[in-house]
């Protein structure tokens, strides 16, 4: 066997393409049986976050509308386009604006890539908001998914943080003044501490602002801080949170759905049979250990299908749909780039990105309450929902318990009437300061259209709680009110607020200066 080593070597060399493929793909071919499909799922690093089988309800487009996936997809798009922009962007007050111009004018498809980055950021924010609404109205936060609801909330805040920090980077007028306002919202606890006369000893506002800007003005230090947050810290946080979010979906037994009837007929067109053909090596055993009340080991799959390929088709479709929407928007609408930042001349009106305009409307009443306290109350209230509403029922079904749809409609009309009424009143008659010019700031802080709206909404929710005798219905009432209030304020500030934050029917009526 003198030449066998040589022969073995040549043999191995000949087989190299195949052995490499096997080493890389494990299966090395398109799976042909369910067993191979299950292996394709859990032997793949990127796919093993899926369970091997997925419930038919989960695949139903009208349950989720693919919103979570769309948010994830836009994050992927944002990461890719963001890295590309980083290649040319220069985070310095001297060069940032010039590098934006170069991205527009000379970088191959640079303007298009920037547009995609901008538009998928909008898509992501919309998707995250709608995803939260979907999870709420399908009661999918209920036990055992309370913690994942909190993770989702953290993802919402991180998403908004990413949008906000990205806003400063072009260093144009829009950026400069939006961040000036934003950082002064961080400063707004001073409104309260000043009114109480304790700012000298206790100044959380000044501390927050300084932490954000690294200076007492928006300048080079602020730009670098926002840049670091935008390209490193927040994406990392978001990535980790997304990972935990997905992992919890697995551990909490997949997406929330109503119980399948025990042993009953398949209601979703599924079928009854054992999960896998009986085999000596039962690799799925540990995979199925989940927190749900019923594991699917040794039991008919009824309304489930294999994740590979069904779930993959759905994921690819939603991913490409998100890409297509971002691309089409980017093709027709350029991302704005205004004049170079000029600290001497404020934008008028200086508007924040649209998803903060609702808050900006509240801020126009009181920076402290509108910019910090009310958003904090909203986030805290959202966080408490799954812990206060603990009665099971309605999971995974839109408006799943009796009366929800009705309460949602009533709350919709209530919030619509109260918000429009409050705005109309404020615009026509002004507020406390117009009537009592010397009024103490404390009155304005605590009694303004924003705080009154919150009180109205809370009161309505308590009334529902008392009257309908259901925590879930009270939560539906409050959530709907906040959603409608937020949407209306956002719309109002976007369309009807003009220079000097005055009311105009349409932007075309803004005075030419």
């Amino acid at each position: 066997m003198a030449d066998t080593a040589v022969r073995e070597f040549l043999h191995n060399l000949r087989l190299l393409p195949q052995t490499f493929k096997e080493a890389w793909l494990r299966l090395g071919k398109v799976p042909e049986s369910e067993r191979e499909e299950s292996q394709a799922t859990f032997h793949n690093f990127f796919l093993h976050i899926h369970s091997v089988r997925v419930h038919l309800r989960t695949l139903s487009p009208t349950l989720t509308w693919g919103l979570g996936l769309a948010a994830t997809a836009s994050f992927v798009i944002l990461t890719i386009t963001g890295v590309l922009l980083m290649v040319y962007y220069k985070p310095s007050t001297e060069l940032a604006y010039q590098s934006m111009k170069d991205i527009h004018f000379t970088v191959a498809t640079g303007r298009f890539i920037r547009n995609i980055h901008r538009w998928s950021a909008h898509v992501m924010v919309v998707a995250v908001f709608l995803h939260m609404a979907r999870v709420f109205f399908t009661a999918s936060y209920k036990k055992p998914r309370e913690f994942n609801w909190l993770i989702g909330l953290a993802l919402l805040v991180t998403t908004l943080g990413l949008s906000f920090t990205g806003y400063l980077l072009p260093w144009d007028q829009l950026a400069y003044w939006a961040i000036t306002i934003g950082s002064n919202i961080a400063n707004s606890p001073r409104e309260l501490t000043d009114a109480l006369g304790i700012t000298r000893w206790f100044d959380p506002g000044g501390f927050q602002r300084q932490l954000l800007l690294g200076a007492n003005y928006v300048g080079e230090d602020a730009l670098i801080r926002f840049y670091v947050l935008h390209v490193f810290v927040l994406p990392l946080v978001l990535l980790i949170l997304v990972g935990v979010h997905f992992w919890r979906i697995r551990k909490d037994g997949g997406l929330a759905r109503p119980e399948d009837p025990m042993g009953g007929p398949a209601e979703w067109g599924g079928e009854r049979r054992p999960v896998f053909e009986p085999l000596a090596t039962k690799t799925y055993g540990l995979m199925a250990v989940v927190k749900g009340r019923r594991a699917t080991v040794n039991r008919g799959p009824e309304n489930t299908v294999m994740s590979w390929p069904h779930l993959l088709w759905a994921e690819m479709a939603v991913f490409m749909l998100t890409v297509a929407v971002s691309l089409i928007l980017s093709f027709y609408f350029d991302a704005p780039l205004k004049e170079l930042a000029n600290p001497a001349i404020p934008e008028n009106p200086a508007k924040a990105p649209w998803y903060f305009l609702g808050i900006q409307e509240l801020v126009s009443y009181s920076a402290f309450m509108g910019g910090l306290v009310i958003p904090a109350i909203a986030v805290l209230g959202l966080a408490l929902i799954p812990f206060l509403d603990r009665r099971p029922g309605g999971e995974g079904v839109w408006f799943g318990t009796p009366g929800e749809r009705q309460v949602a409609w009533q709350s919709f009309l209530f919030a619509l009437a109260v918000t429009i009424g409050m705005l109309t009143f404020t615009i026509n008659f002004g507020w406390l300061r117009n009537w009592f010019p010397d009024i103490h700031q404390l009155w304005i802080i605590f009694i303004n259209p924003g705080t009154l709206l919150v009180l109205f909404f809370a009161g309505w929710s308590l009334w529902v709680l008392e009257r309908r005798n259901s925590v879930r219905l009270a939560a539906v009432a409050l959530f709907t009110c906040f959603l409608i209030g937020f949407t209306l304020l956002t719309y109002f500030a976007t369309v009807h607020r003009g220079p000097n934050w005055e009311f105009y029917w349409w932007p075309s009526q803004w005075p030419v200066h």
């Binding site: 049986s33 890719i80 290649v87 191959a108 640079g110 890539i113 049979r273 054992p274 053909e277 390929p309």
Partner: protein, 162 residues
């Protein structure tokens, strides 16, 4: 096939293939765009064009090193020429040595005319174009390589008269 393994739905339908095909095509085109973008369309920075003074400032036999510009200027009886001081091996700056130029990084050695005498350098040091600006000063165009031996001819006063 086991009784428990139901017959497969045909996945290789036309729709599956078409959608998968277009999916990968779209990803492929996007990837091409992604790799196109970092390649700069236009190089930043100014043209490398250096004024070095009037011809009279370079007497026959003199040499001058432009430190920042990485260029050596020589004047011999035939004229003025500029040799790049950037080693053709891996881009270090060469220094004058007794027999010409020596590169400190990997030991390439060049003759005073830029020819490779030793070391790993694959080709001679490039000669650079010299021209004259409107104000009479000489200009080294460091972006333009010229054939070895191309000198800027300094006209003798008699020739100018003629």
């Amino acid at each position: 096939m086991s009784r428990l393994e139901p017959p497969r739905v045909s996945r290789r339908s036309f729709l599956s293939l078409a959608s998968l095909g277009s999916f990968f095509a779209a990803i492929g085109v996007a990837a091409a765009g992604v790799f196109r973008l970092p390649n700069p369309t236009v190089l930043p920075g100014p043209v490398r064009r250096y004024k070095i003074g009037r011809p009279e400032e370079f007497p026959v036999g003199s040499e001058k090193r432009l430190e920042k510009e990485n260029v050596f200027i020589f004047r011999d009886t035939e004229g003025i020429y500029a040799v790049s001081a950037i080693c053709t091996h891996l881009g270090c700056t060469v220094a004058r040595s007794s027999d010409g130029f020596a590169c400190p990084c990997h030991g390439s050695r060049f003759s005073p005319g830029g020819k490779v005498l030793g070391g790993p350098a694959p080709r001679p040091l490039p000669w650079l174009e010299i021209s004259r600006a409107a104000d009479g000063q000489l200009v080294v165009l460091a972006d333009n390589e010229v054939a070895e031996g191309t000198r800027f001819r300094v006209l003798a006063p008699s020739e100018i008269e003629g």
